[in-house]
């Protein structure tokens, strides 16, 4: 099968177009060769009722967004089965469809019950069958759950559709910029603005349990400070207010410490703040710029950017003995690195021939590979399943978000209607996980 080039633009939504439109559009610019062809059949629901969300369309969009699947348009479907028993295999084999996702929605007192199945057309067997329940507000979450389950069943990789993305927008003229810190679903829907300011906001990051965020804001007298916001309670605390830089916050994997950059002692260095007892520990001592700390999954090491060698490169420090080793040797600018969840590689911003890309360094083999074809790339953030990353870039002078799979095979853009978009951070946890009840 030839390489597929898909461009899908979801702007408003067919059902109940109230506040559910996404500010971020999804444009898949490159899919995998041999994408698996899936038919996501509209779920059956009682006549004369309408769902506030079109569950099958959300599942369809999720699978398509991953770039690994090609979904059959509903209007090409010759029949609309709701379970294995209804399936006429030839209707699907004719169209080359390999798998079907189908099911039924039932209105309950508290919300909805959803039964869904994943069916292998060629083997004519059920791969997965589950029943889940949720409230009306959780309909989108239920749909994303279906997407995740199907994705994992067919690829072996946990899905990332039930996650959220935090990002910054900047709008307006240079003299009067408006900065907003937003959190939206991974597909761009249900955006909430958690901070709005005429002063810069940047470096927003998630706590490992997904319940808190930390960020840098200049809102206090125009000076940078690090803030932590509890997403459940809405409580915001200014954590640091030192002279000089207060930046690049990064939670430790156990959530108890916050690495950061402070220049109060003369030049930018990495410090670690114990969030429980508020003790501050300085961990780099070099007259160069040390910044952008990011933790290893075991909490025992931190990778960071330093220009101690003359140009920005990535270094790793072991916290036990503060020993430092340099990790990058290719290219004259490597920055904003983070480790893949399994520790096998490092993604970073990498400059090659004057162009800033996102690159992946395989730590075992020492080989660096550029993943993106865009330019002026920054802020890569890995999905919790380790298979995709999102980053900020520019297309036609406009700041947009884009995503690429770790193997570089899938690429998509997420331009926004809200001005320049930047600084994406992928939430580390799924927003909602449903427990299947027995079918």
């Amino acid at each position: 099968m030839t390489r597929l080039r898909l461009t899908l633009i979801f702007t408003t939504f067919l059902f109940g177009a109230t506040a559910t439109a996404s500010d971020l559009r999804i444009e898949v610019t490159q899919g995998v060769d041999n994408a698996v062809r899936v038919g996501v059949v509209p779920f059956k629901y009682p006549p004369r009722t309408s769902l506030p969300e079109s569950v099958h369309e959300i599942v369809d969009a999720d699978l398509t967004l991953s770039g690994r699947f090609e979904t059959l348009p509903v209007k090409q479907m010759l029949s609309l089965p709701t379970s294995a028993e209804d399936v006429l295999a030839r209707d699907w084999r004719l169209l080359g469809v390999e798998y079907l996702v189908m099911g039924e929605m039932e209105r309950m007192e508290y919300g909805y019950r959803l039964r869904f199945e994943l069916f292998n057309v060629f083997k004519q067997s059920v791969v997965l069958r589950q029943v889940i329940e949720g409230t009306e507000e959780e309909l989108r979450d239920m749909a994303h759950y279906v997407g995740d389950e199907v994705f994992e069943a067919l690829t072996g990789i946990p899905g990332a559709f039930s996650t959220r993305i935090m990002y910054v927008t900047a709008d307006g003229p240079v003299e009067n910029r408006l900065f907003k810190l937003n959190i939206a679903d991974a597909d761009g829907y249900r955006r909430q603005t958690v901070l709005s300011s005429n002063e810069p906001v940047l470096s927003a990051t998630w706590s490992p349990d997904g319940n808190k965020i930390a960020y840098v804001s200049f809102e206090n007298a125009g000076r940078p400070g690090i803030y932590i916001r509890d997403l459940k309670s809405g409580l915001i605390q200014q954590i640091t207010n030192f002279a000089g830089l207060n930046g690049a916050p990064s939670f430790s994997p156990d959530g108890k410490q916050l690495a950061m950059v402070l220049s109060k002692d003369g030049n930018p260095d990495i410090y670690v703040l114990n969030l429980e007892n508020r003790r501050l520990r300085r961990i780099t001592r070099h007259y160069g710029i040390d910044t952008e700390p990011s933790w290893r999954a075991d909490g025992q090491a931190i990778v960071f950017t330093s220009n101690r060698g003359g140009k920005p490169q990535i270094y790793q420090m072991q916290l036990a003995d503060l020993s430092i080793e340099r990790l990058t040797f290719e290219g004259d600018y490597n920055a904003k690195a983070s480790l893949l969840p399994d520790g096998s590689g490092l993604i970073m911003v990498h400059r090659r021939e004057g162009i800033f890309h996102i690159a992946l360094l395989n730590l075992q083999r020492g080989r660096l590979r550029v993943l993106t074809e865009t330019a002026l790339d920054e802020s890569p953030s890995i999905a919790p399943n380790g298979s995709m990353l999102i980053y900020a870039t520019q297309v036609n002078g406009e700041g947009i978000l884009a995503a690429v799979s770790i193997d570089g095979g899938v690429k998509f853009n997420l331009p926004s209607s809200e001005g320049d978009v930047r600084e994406p951070a992928w939430s580390p946890q799924k927003t909602k996980v449903f427990t299947p009840i027995s079918p």
Binding site: L202, L245, I289
Partner: protein, 185 residues
Amino acid sequence: MGITRNRGLLALIAAGLFLAGCASTAPEEDTSTDSSIDAAEVVVEAPKEMPVEIQPTITGGEKVMISKGPGMGTETLDGTFYFDFDQAIVKRSGHTELDQHADVLKGNPSFRVRLEGHADERGTREYNLALGERRANAVRAYLTAQGALRSQIEVISYGEEKPAVLGGGESTWAQNRRVEIKYRN
């Protein structure tokens, strides 16, 4: 420093008094004498042009206006200094004006400035915040080496967050790699 200021003021006041004095002391003509005796000519000398020293003043735009020299008027210093990519060395073209700022600060200990450091949009944001601070620190070092006091100078970096010009390309980037001196009131 205060003395110079008062001298200027005194000179003005003196000149004013002198002029005022002249107006009221025109001698009365003695009309009883015969006309062969001319009224004494009183030559009123116009006061000499006293060069008034114009002191540096802080403008509403957070810049400083200084004298260009005796009788030569004033100029407002631009206060913006530029840098090469990933560098924190003030370009040579800015050194003359930097010296003028150092003189202003040296001569006016009550003046306070804020040095705002910036970077162009390329590269990562936090690294650019550090770079902007580097640049502002470099300007501070230059000024204090010329006699300004550290206590007169505050440093802040905005990295790439507050560009002078939106957009991309070499010319725009060059305008954004800067430190701005802002005078505080």
